[in-house]
Amino acid sequence: MSAPVPGPYDLAPPTERDYFARFGPGVVIILPARRPGPTEWGRGGPPHGGAWIHVGEDGTTRAFTGKVEVGQGTRTALTLLVAEELGMPLGAVDLTMGDTDVSPWDMGTFGSRSMPDAGENLRTTAAAAREVVLEIAATTLGVPKADLAIADGRIRTGTGSSARSVGIGDLVRGLHRIETITAPAQLSQPSGWTRAGHPTANLGGREIVTGTRQYTSDLRPAGMLHGRVLFAPQYGAKLRSVDLSRAAAMPGVTVVHEGDFVGVASPDFLTTRAALKAIRAEWDTTPQPSEGGIVEFLRQHPAEGEDSWDLIHHVAGDVDAALAAAPVTLHETYTTAYIAHVPMETHAVLAAWEAGRLTVWMGSQTPFRARDALSDAFGIPESSVRVVVPATGSGFGGKHAAELAVRAARLAKAAGRPVCTVYTREEEFTQAYFRPMAVIDVQSGAEKDGTITAWRFNDLNAGSAAARLPYKVTNQQIQNQPAESPLPQGSYRALAATANNFARESHMDELAARVGVDPVEYRLRHLGDDRLAAVLRAVVHRAEWTPHAGTRARNPGPVRGWGVAVGLEKGGRVATVAEVSVHEDRRLEILRLVTGFECGTIVHPSNLRNQVEGGTIMALGGALFEAIHFENGRILNPRLSEYRVPRFRDVPRIDIVLVDRPDLPSEGAGETPLIAVAPAIANAIYDATGRRLRSLPLVPDGTVP
């Protein structure tokens, strides 16, 4: 019988949390979380995730956040901020992320909020911890607080022969002190930073290169079973009958059949696989929409969308009148395909029950929401569920769902043993959700000199991100409309921003060509954001942009083209210049991408560069060739041999220009660097060939049509 497990910290008052039993004596500083009500999601700014920090007598500072690390490098960036504010060496700060028993509540790791939210919360908490530690030191050393300095985990006072110092761990020895932050803390100035803002190697490299880092799919507790789930062969299928007798007769196999759920588990991976194959199931199917005609299908199936917080309906001036009066008008439709996240580590869950309490290890981007889902599914209190996020082999917005966790936990409950369930790659394609397809209509009007006077922008099915104009236009109407998608769809890295930015920046290029103005000059003329204009100028300078108006197609023969696009989303500013070559056989070659990015204060420059570079490469796939194909409820290409993602040979020369603004708060960088890639390439193809491509992916077979 194990000792009673204390409830999750976020559900208990600070005085009832066992900080000191768990982490030893010291000082705890708490920044309370503000948890939103159900109607608050997405309104009035993001919910406040809170943070807490335990300064231990062992000299280690433990910081806690509900955000998770799935490869984006925030563990190192956030640890840097705590170390910087608290004057601790990086190695003395231990950051716990995404463990629902000890982390502050958090809505989830999405929307590029880790740096602006968790970063700010942890900084604030660390700054408050520094002040508490200095106060204790002032009393202990008998000197005014103003005469103390904190650095490298020690507090120093005096100079020369009168110099004294004490380690932070020694200062808090034996204390059981909890402080809740009520007033804003004095944050350090980035200009004086010695750790943050400077090149730092990401944490955990040695474990990664030696293969010892344990991802969820690598966990093997004693007695663990391998689980598999019987999935429907197509969307909309209902289980009519199932014969489990052969699977149930296999030695060591647990079979679970509850309603529509059928799953098997056994101690041996291959036996589990054989048991799943031995199940005979019959399904009732109904016809499902297919890829052909999907644009019309979405137009004919608008969803109510009243529940959706992701709605924009922005109107200024009189668009109809401005369009009627405009000497130049343009009306075009742009589309983006359904695409898959394809995380290298497929969804994996390890579920274990002990004395009625459920613990689930999973690569979740929303561990607290997973806790809610598990609590609902099993009718047990939230406090009886713990979700832990181990190292995770990427997410890209694809790891928000908790269905697999519920299934693994059902198997574990029935078997009375821990169960690990890992999607096969085919299951990853067919059971996950996709980036929504987008259909975007843009209607514009301009004066003869090119000045845009009217802008109507309708996004169907993608969402509102990046739909707003970064350009000054008097008459504008911008809205989005959800649709009944035939495929499951959900969060994705730079989801709607990619679609809306592709439509807007392609359309801007079309207008610039129509009125005979250089695409860079045309954007600068209309831009209403100085920060974005500065990024655009930096990028065209690096790219050695040659001003030109309209297409410079020179046929026949291999031709080169240059295209530009900008974007403003989630507080980040991005500009990309693409240089392409279209060969005589129409094959498209990307020669160079130059991406400039500005996200306020740079906390972790080498990781930021890695994010911008990696995001640019990920965006190449959706821009050029990635697409999910489907017919009557089936995914036709659920394999890596059939669904193409960027490989080594697809990667062009990439130049990154980072603009640091230490005078501005840090914004996220995981998404916005992607959103100018596709339109820059489309615009470069137009420059090279005179051919305007308005659908992503641009060149599914590698050639320009």
Partner: protein
């Protein structure tokens, strides 16, 4: 034959040499080398990514050459020397290719990295000074979804330049 009988049936056995150590293993057509490494030998550094040899996350060295363990029946490598990511470092001293990946910061989520390092080690054993195009061609069977390709190329070039990489490519 029922599934139950097939699973319970006695299997031929042999010895598999992994990271210098011999292990008794059962031979069975549907048992991949990846399965044996991860589930029977507890060597979880070698990853499952796709099961069809398309992503390279499962690569290991067999007699110094990178192969895809997910599509390699274990019987094919009996009597040969298998090196996994866990077998590259000598004690606390990283293999030069591992060290180069750390130095280049060539990782994000890290899940593809064991397979990348194995593929790079195999390449450098065959070609100690590969040009960038040779690196891209040799590594094209390894996927990184985080988009770390350019840093990985940088890491392989660093490993190529560092002394010892050329000589110790094939353990």
């Amino acid at each position: 034959m029922s599934q139950a009988e097939r699973v319970a049936q006695p299997r031929a056995s042999s010895r598999l040499r992994v990271n210098g150590v011999g292990h008794p293993i059962a031979l069975d057509r549907d048992r991949s080398l990846l399965f044996v490494l991860r589930e029977e030998l507890g060597l979880a550094g070698t990853k499952y990514g796709c099961g069809e040899g398309e992503c390279g996350a499962c690569k290991v060295l067999v007699d110094g050459v990178a192969i895809r363990s997910c599509i390699t029946p274990v019987g094919e490598v009996v009597g040969r020397s298998v090196t996994t990511i866990e077998g590259l470092a000598e004690g606390d001293r990283l293999h030069p290719v591992q060290q180069a990946f750390v130095d280049a910061g060539a990782f994000q989520c890290g899940f593809c990295i064991p397979g990348m390092i194995i593929a790079a080690t195999s390449l450098l054993a065959r070609n100690p000074n590969p040009g960038e195009e040779e690196i891209r061609a040799a590594m094209d069977g390894n996927l990184c979804r985080c988009g770390g390709y350019l840093r990985i190329i940088d890491a392989i070039q660093r490993a190529s330049r560092s002394s010892g990489a050329a000589g110790s490519g094939a353990p």
